[in-house]
């Protein structure tokens, strides 16, 4: 055993520590005392990677040239395997297997904007941090940390009260995150943009590329490793593999840090008053992490904001054609190609009754027997194509922003479903360029534990399972006021001064606690925030309140299935169908034996002018200048249902006639247009009565939604942005199962 409790912590101690571990076959470490750790408070070892890049190549790749490493992705087969040792939980169903995970080709390099390439052609990160802002491994002591209870017994480094304790921690810190410009209502608080622009000054740290690909199998725990059916769970013949590529281009982990320390005490079994009762919190290994994975400034406001650029230049197309009963589009024909629908020459009331009587005219049937009416009905379906020719949709620039992409589809020679380099020696697959789930502008800032609320690792009380726990927050004002945030809004009876006592804040890509001032200038974002924030895509941020929300415009980008198109894309032409139904009518009153023809109607189809009485046989609509009128409703004639035929003996006019039965009209129903992928409703609200489709003017301008819809039909589905902001873990406990 190696006891290191009295070794003062100097630069080589860590190295020596690890070296000593490797000296023996069995290593047993014991804790380093706080006393020795705190001797070098505030100092540490800084390190600065320059011209850095790495990729995990297969063990058979040999020593390669740089050109080959950069060009050949098929040898990215160096792997990390998570071996699924240990029995399944007794409550696991028989259909559950073990996940056998292989992580291949892990690479860290400079981003190049290519979301399907795990290593760019110019992969080196010029300077990951700077000499002023390096990586840091340091030991520091923070004071005024409240413990878990209301007692200082055991002593716990608490000087006078249980609210003023010291915690000494070992921290690994990434370079601090610089500021994006922030404009406050109080302009004296404004912060300028301090993000470096040159790669020598650390700009590449905001444009990293993290990539890997992975194979996961479901392993049958009953079978031997290496057996031919090892992945065929319960011999169901469904052996398969989940293959996944993950690429985060434009990533920054600046501002991240992990702290390791011994927790304070104060938890007492049976404690009342909301103090912590679980003594496993006392003086154990505590961890605290600010884990920041950011793509960049995704604020959508302003012309250069992070959102799609959509132009809608208005419809210019008006080529029209008509559709016949068989659904054929007849092009080059006149717009006024009508199809007679009901009694080509002469008819009476549609629907099979021999008489329909209205009190005053044929449009109000059901009254006393004042009139007999007869109708002629016709329809036409006009198609207007390429309605929106000039709408464009342009993906925002990704020069200053990153994208997280997961994909699974392969391209080219697709490998067998159980192939994997570590299993049978195949090469790395080639992934499809555009498929997958994309998270544009993903910013993930997680606060996992703090010095006040540590993340602890323990053993389950009744088994050998591992427990990960983020401490519960006790009902202790000195402690919870360091974590909670008093948001604007209903603050009850709190005074301004009392509100200010709540020191919690949210770690987002724009701010993460108290700004760090260097030589009088707010240079780095803080690291003492207590709440987490996750956002994907276009956002809006208010620095006054620290509130981040999703940008809700139709031009928001974020989660997308399939790559957003680069450059300008014109939507494909849209076809719109206009259905017209018209009628002509005549009437014969009970006191009038001759037909009276309607010569003018209004826009709703009612007759406004009746012609003079006409006598004699063979009278018909055409010869009497009857007016075609719009049929705006289905009260007289519903084109979507079949019509019964009948005969009518027009004894008065001396010309009996027969009306044949008719089916529903083929263009009248709403239907799915498979070619243009849209629903077309040819009946509802699409009638007009003039002889030409004047309503063309109605679609002079496409909407943003039209353009997005048009694109969605072809290449990708943009689901817009999403934000989870101000997330606080009150208490979290994760226990492994099965041991």
């Amino acid at each position: 055993m190696t006891t290191l409790s009295k070794v003062s912590f100097q630069k080589t101690v860590l190295a020596s520590l690890i070296g000593l571990f490797l000296n023996q076959s069995v290593f047993a470490l014991e804790e380093i005392s706080d006393e020795s750790l705190s001797e070098t408070t505030g100092e540490g070892i800084a390190f600065l990677p320059e011209n850095f890049a790495m990729v995990f190549r297969g063990e058979n790749a040999g020593n390669e040239t740089v050109a080959n490493i950069v060009a050949d992705r098929t040898k990215d087969t160096g792997y990390i395997r998570y071996i699924p040792v240990g029995p399944l939980s007794s409550s696991a169903p028989v259909t559950a297997g073990k996940a056998d995970l292989f992580l291949y080709g892990l690479s860290i390099s400079k981003g190049d904007g290519n979301l399907n390439n795990r290593l760019g052609s110019d992969p080196t990160i010029r300077s990951w941090g700077t000499a002023d802002n390096p990586w840091l491994f340091k030991v520091q002591t923070d004071s005024n940390i409240p413990n878990f209870g209301n007692t200082v017994t055991p002593a716990n480094n608490c000087t006078t009260t249980p609210d003023n304790c010291k915690v000494t921690y070992l921290a690994l810190e990434a370079p601090r995150h610089e500021f994006y410009a922030l404009s406050y209502t109080d302009t004296t608080k404004n912060v300028g943009n301090t993000i470096p622009v040159s790669s020598a000054a650390g700009a590449d740290a905001y444009n990293l590329k993290l990539a890997f690909w992975a194979d996961a199998f479901v392993r049958d725990p009953k079978k031997a490793e290496g057996a031919s059916d090892q992945f065929d769970l319960i011999s169901s013949g469904r052996a398969n593999r989940l293959r996944l590529q993950a690429v985060w281009d434009g990533l920054s982990i600046n501002g991240s840090q992990i702290q390791m320390f011994q927790t304070l005490g104060g938890a007492v079994a049976g404690a009342g008053g909301g103090y912590i009762k679980d003594t496993s919190y006392n003086n154990t290994l505590g961890l605290a992490g600010v884990l920041r994975f950011n793509s960049g400034d995704t604020r959508a406001d302003g012309t250069s904001g992070f959102k799609a650029n959509i132009t809608t230049n208005g419809g210019t197309a008006a080529t029209s054609s008509y559709v016949d009963d068989a659904g054929n589009v007849i092009t080059g024909s006149a717009d006024n190609t009508w199809i007679n629908r009901y009694s080509p020459s002469a008819t009476t009331v549609p629907g099979g009754t021999t008489t329909a009587q209205g009190s005053t005219n044929c449009n109000t049937p059901g009254g006393s027997a004042a009139f007999v009416c007869s109708y002629q009905i016709r329809s036409r379906t006009t198609r207007v194509s390429n309605a929106y020719a000039n709408g464009t949709w342009t993906t925002p620039s990704l020069v200053n922003n990153g994208v997280l992409r997961f994909s699974t589809r392969e391209t080219g020679a697709v490998q067998g479903k159980l192939d994997s380099p570590a299993v049978n020696g195949v090469t790395a697959p080639t992934f499809d360029a555009n498929e997958g789930l994309y998270a544009y502008g993903a910013n993930i800032n997680l606060v996992l534990g703090t010095l006040y609320q540590p993340l602890m690792v323990n053993k389950d009380a009744t088994s050998n399972n591992l427990v990960l726990e983020v401490a519960a927050i006790p009902n202790k004002p000195d402690l919870y006021k360091k974590i909670y945030t008093a948001y604007a809004g209903n603050t009850g009876s709190l005074t301004t001064a009392q509100i200010a006592e709540y020191q919690g804040s949210t770690c987002s890509v724009y701010a993460c606690g108290t700004p760090i001032v260097v030589n009088g200038v707010k240079t780095y974002q803080g690291v003492n925030a207590t709440h987490s924030s996750i956002s994907i895509g276009s956002t809006q941020y208010d620095p006054n309140t620290g509130l981040m929300t999703a940008y809700k415009g139709a031009d928001a980008v974020g989660v997308s299935f399939g790559a957003l198109p680069t450059g300008t894309v014109s939507p494909t032409g849209q076809n719109y169908y206009y259905y017209e139904l018209q009628n002509r009518e005549r009437r014969r009153g009970s006191s009038n034996t001759n037909w009276q023809y309607c010569t003018a109607g209004n826009s709703t189809g009612a007759c406004t002018t009746w012609g003079v009485n006409n006598t004699g046989g063979g009278l018909n609509f055409n010869s009497r200048s009857a007016a075609w009128k719009t049929s705006a409703g289905t009260s007289l004639y519903n084109p979507t249902v079949p019509q019964n035929g009948y005969s009518y003996n027009d004894t008065t006019n001396g010309t009996p006639f027969t009306v044949p039965s008719a089916g529903s009209l083929p263009q009248a129903n709403s239907s799915w247009d498979a070619v243009n992928k849209q629903w077309v409703s040819r009946w509802d609200g699409t009638t007009w009565s003039s002889s030409s489709p004047a309503a063309l003017g109605n679609f002079a301008n496409a909407t943003i939604g039209d353009v997005q819809q048009a694109l969605s039909n072809t290449q990708f589905t943009n689901l817009g942005s999403a934000v989870i902001d101000g997330m606080l873990i009150q208490h979290m406990k994760i226990t492994t199962k099965g041991l």
Partner: protein, 263 residues
Amino acid sequence: MKIFLSASTLLTATLSFAGLQPLDNEALQQAQGQGGADLSLVLSLNHGINVDGTSTNTISNFCQINYEQCRLALSLNNRYSNGDYIDRVTGKAYTQNGVEIVSGKPTGDKLWLVFKGMQGTINLQKVGLDGADLTYTQKNSSSVIVKPAIQLSYDPTLPILIRNYGFASLAIEQDSGNIPGYWLGSARTDSSGLAIPAYNGGSGLKKFTNGKYDYSSGAPSGYGTSSFDHGREIGFTGLNMNGNLALAGTVKIFGCDGSHPRC
């Protein structure tokens, strides 16, 4: 990151073998003009050795038999099986209920996080060791500090060869009387004369004999001696790495003292 840390920890481990002392600023500045050193070394832990001296890249026969001696155990959470712990300042022992233990010693068994089946061979084909200066602006001042640093450099054309590096399983073990938790396994008497009984227990899928899962009898239907877990040391997720880590660039390492804006 895991890879990078692993590689760098092993490298620094080697430096300590070589008996290097920490260099202060003055000593490093005096070393200007020297070309530095290229290091090439093979680190092998618990792997067998071929007749030509190279690693077999597989676990050694010794570790297959004496698997209890091929573990890494950490006790980081200051916790005993019955909840006893030691106060961080006074050094006094307390029970789970916060009552001081008069004898000053916890009565429970100490808990260990045990990495079982630790192994790996790492061939650092080339690591450059140089000194270099860097500059930063002094804290609360505008003056520029010139700081000497150790510079490690890596050549991507000579990747770090990582072979079968990792551990077979990870477990929480607790002491058994005077026998350390990480020392439990087969029945034996160790070199100090301590008699260790066989580490047996559990039932069904959790049954283990000599610290290894044992499905030779009493296992649920379908499980047997050819099942995946049978014969593996008890615990959960193991880790295994294989490949050539092509690493490019330099890492400057320097002391972060009070003059630095971050320290």
